[in-house]
Structures are given as structure tokens and as C-alpha cells.
Symmetry: C2
Subunit: 242 residues, 2 copies
């Protein structure tokens, strides 16, 4: 057996060890924060080496399936969109996915989160969304602060949709928005569109407060098709290309 074969064998043992942990979580119907057996348990259960098991635990921790601490047993991990964000950013950085493609997915998803939010939002959520629309207008001369509010605005709507997967996906767009949105606003075309953009955000917030799903979807659609569409067309460099 040469080095290559031994390496491949180790890789498949690590995958097998990872699967054993995920099956353990599923079969025992474990929930976030529940304790998992330590390395030793799986080592004797599976007959793999401690090195293989350590690598499997490392990979599971990177994927946030488990939460490993120091000197304590691992716990079942909570998902928060950051794994999807890491994958997404890598794909954009390496030109596997373009920013206009991401923005089409955002548009598709956020038409739905706005619609759902208008039906499912609590009173506190409606107020929070309106406050963020106001904050975007208030700080519209400070790109960095405005972008922060803008990201929070879209995440608050996703949260108010009360669908945990929509929230995760929308949250995963945030690191990309942090780079792309301020870049976009530096174009002259974008500056001219600022008042329209502020109005659209306000329209979305009002429709959600009024529990009007159709108006909320339409306002979000208008936001993406005018303001954001113009921004994308104004973009140059790695984040442009529409």
C-alpha cells in the first residue's frame, strides 16, 4: 500500500466517523446543547484511531454540527447561517458564483420573507422593522452605518417571517452585503437613487405593519427591481458584471 492509498483510506475513515456522530445525534433525537459522548466512546465503538476521531470532530465542529470546548464533552451545535455564508463568500471570491446571481436569489427569497412577515410578524417585530427603516434614512450620509441598518432591516424581516431556514439564508448574505452595498453607493447613479431607496424601505415596513402581504411583497419587489437593480448596473469590478 502506498502513501496515497493510506491517505485515501484515512479520509474515508474520517467520513465514516463523521457519519457515526450524525447518526448518533439523529437516532437519539438530540437537540442543540445536548451532550455527546467523547472521542473515547466513538473510538471503541467504531474501532478507529484517536487521530481519525479527532479529525472527524474537528470537521464536524467546522461545519457547526458539534460545539467542542476544552476538557469537556462536545455538544450538539446550533446553526446560524455562518456555514452557508462561508461557502457563499468562497464561491463569490473564486468566481464560482457572481454577485448578480446572489442578488437574484436574495430578490426571490426576500419577496417571500416580506410577504410572510406581513402575515406572521409580532407587534414588536413590526415596530423594530419600522425603526430600522427610519435608521437607514437618518444615517443615509454614512455608508457604513447605513449598510449596518440595511443588513439588520433585511434580517429583521426574515426573522419576522418565522421560517428558520429563510432567516439562515438571509443571514448568510450579510457578509457579502457588507462589502457590496457600500461599494455600490459610491457610484453617482446610486447617489441619485438614494431618496427612492429610502422610500422603498419605508413602504416595505409600512406594508408589514399594516399586515398587508401583497403590498409587502410588491414593495420589496420594487426595492429590488429599481434601487438594487440600478446599484448592480452601476457596479464595476469583482462585485459587478450584471
Amino acid at each position: 500500500m502506498n502513501v496515497q492509498e493510506r491517505g485515501d483510506e484515512k479520509g474515508s475513515l474520517v467520513k465514516k466517523a463523521m457519519r457515526a456522530v450524525t447518526f448518533h445525534i439523529k437516532d437519539n433525537r438530540l437537540r442543540v446543547g445536548d451532550t455527546l459522548p467523547g472521542e473515547g466512546y466513538f473510538v471503541s465503538e467504531l474501532g478507529v484511531s484517536r487521530a481519525v476521531m479527532r479529525e472527524a470532530f474537528g470537521a464536524l465542529a467546522a461545519l457547526q454540527l458539534i460545539d467542542v470546548g476544552n476538557g469537556r464533552k462536545p455538544k450538539v451545535g446550533a446553526v446560524d447561517g455562518s456555514v452557508i455564508a462561508t461557502s457563499l463568500n468562497h464561491a463569490v471570491d473564486t468566481a464560482q458564483i457572481t454577485v448578480p446571481e446572489v442578488w437574484d436569489v436574495r430578490r426571490t427569497i426576500e419577496l417571500r420573507t416580506a410577504t410572510l412577515a406581513a402575515v406572521s410578524r409580532t407587534e414588536a417585530e413590526a415596530v423594530g422593522i419600522m425603526n430600522l427603516a427610519d435608521a437607514i434614512a437618518r444615517d443615509s450620509d454614512n455608508f457604513e452605518l447605513m449598510t449596518k441598518h440595511d443588513i439588520a432591516f433585511h434580517e429583521a424581516i426574515a426573522r419576522a417571517s418565522h421560517n428558520a431556514l429563510f432567516l439562515q439564508i438571509v443571514t448568510s448574505f450579510s457578509p457579502l452585503m457588507q462589502v457590496a452595498v457600500p461599494t455600490a453607493w459610491q457610484t453617482r447613479k446610486a447617489a441619485e437613487q438614494k431618496s427612492v431607496m429610502l422610500e422603498r424601505h419605508h413602504d416595505v415596513a409600512v406594508a408589514i405593519a399594516n399586515r398587508d402581504p401583497e403590498a409587502a411583497g410588491n414593495a420589496m419587489k420594487a426595492h429590488f427591481d429599481t434601487s438594487i437593480g440600478d446599484l448592480l448596473r452601476g457596479l464595476a469590478g469583482p462585485y459587478g458584471g450584471l
Copy 2:
């Protein structure tokens, strides 16, 4: 310094090392398959230990940002939806996300992929989608085979949308469909709906072949709202709950 602090410090060093690799990829505009410097380069560049760097490379490989082999330098990794799928399955297995929530996201996304596919599909893609609709009908008495065609049908439409992120997200649903779809078909209600389901798939394929985006979106919507809606309502156990 106690053990806990030393552990946390190591964790933050690993994160720093991971960021250094992602910055290297971004700054040098590397693409899938391009070679990265080995552990030794980053060890001396960052002044971290070999153990820290090995852990960082392991985490990056788990997230598919890099592709590590044996005795060769790492390469820039290709994304394929399996990282999102792993995160999604974990979230469903641990009740952080429900199957009806996933199905709402699928419905939202696949209305759009069907619409885009009707505009962007090649001739070969249109034929492939039609063949898969026929295969679903042909093997409709074999749940396992029919599910395989069903998954391939939805992936083929996402591919024909020519948006790489939609394709990744749709692909990430496949492991869940492999479990949920055959379970759903075992209900009596589902069996009664089989001819309607087959017709809907056929309608989607025809609309895409006819380059009719509106009809394609409507047919996919009808597919989700009737067939799949009924399936979800008929489901019990961990994959139900609508």
C-alpha cells in the same frame, strides 16, 4: 494561564489561520483547482504552530474551501451544495428547522428556477427535463426509483436556470428529499394524488420546452401547492408537522 484560556487562545489562532488562507485566495484572485502554499508557508508567515495550521487546513477542507490531498499542496476547492446540505440536514435532524419550512423555501426558489429555465435553457436541457418527467411517470410504482428521477428533475431545472447559487441551494435539498419523498408517498392520500403529480411535472417540462416563463412558474407553483401541499399534510412523524 489555565487550560481553558489556552484552549480558547488556540481556537482564535485557528480562526486567524483560516482567515489568512481565505485572504490569500481572495487577494491572489485564485480559482478552483489553483494550488495554495503548504502548511509550512503559513506557519512561518503567521508565526503559528504547525498544529494550529493543520487544524485550520482541516476546518477549511471540511467547509470545502480547500481540497487537501496526500503529500501534495492544497488546492482551491469547488462548492457543490453539500456543505449547505450538511448544515440543513443537521438543522432538520435536531428540530432547528422543520420540513414544512424547508418545503416553503423550496417552493419559493423553484418557482423562480422554473421561470428562469424557460428563458435560459438550452435545447439539450429542455430534452433532459422532459425525459426526466417521462421517467418519473414510467417508474411511478417504484418509490425509490421515482424519487431518484424526481430529485434529478428538480436539479435539472435549477441547472437550466443558469444561476449557480440556485443550483447549489436546490442540490442541497436532495438528501432531505431522499428521505421525505418516499415516506410521503406511502400515505393513501398521496397515492390518490399520483396522477395529478405526474401531470404537474409534465406541465413544467412542457412550459420550459416552450420557452414560456409564466406558464413554467405557474405549473411549478401548482405542483407545490397541490401535490406537495397534500403530501406534507399527509405526513406524520419528524418530517410532518404542517
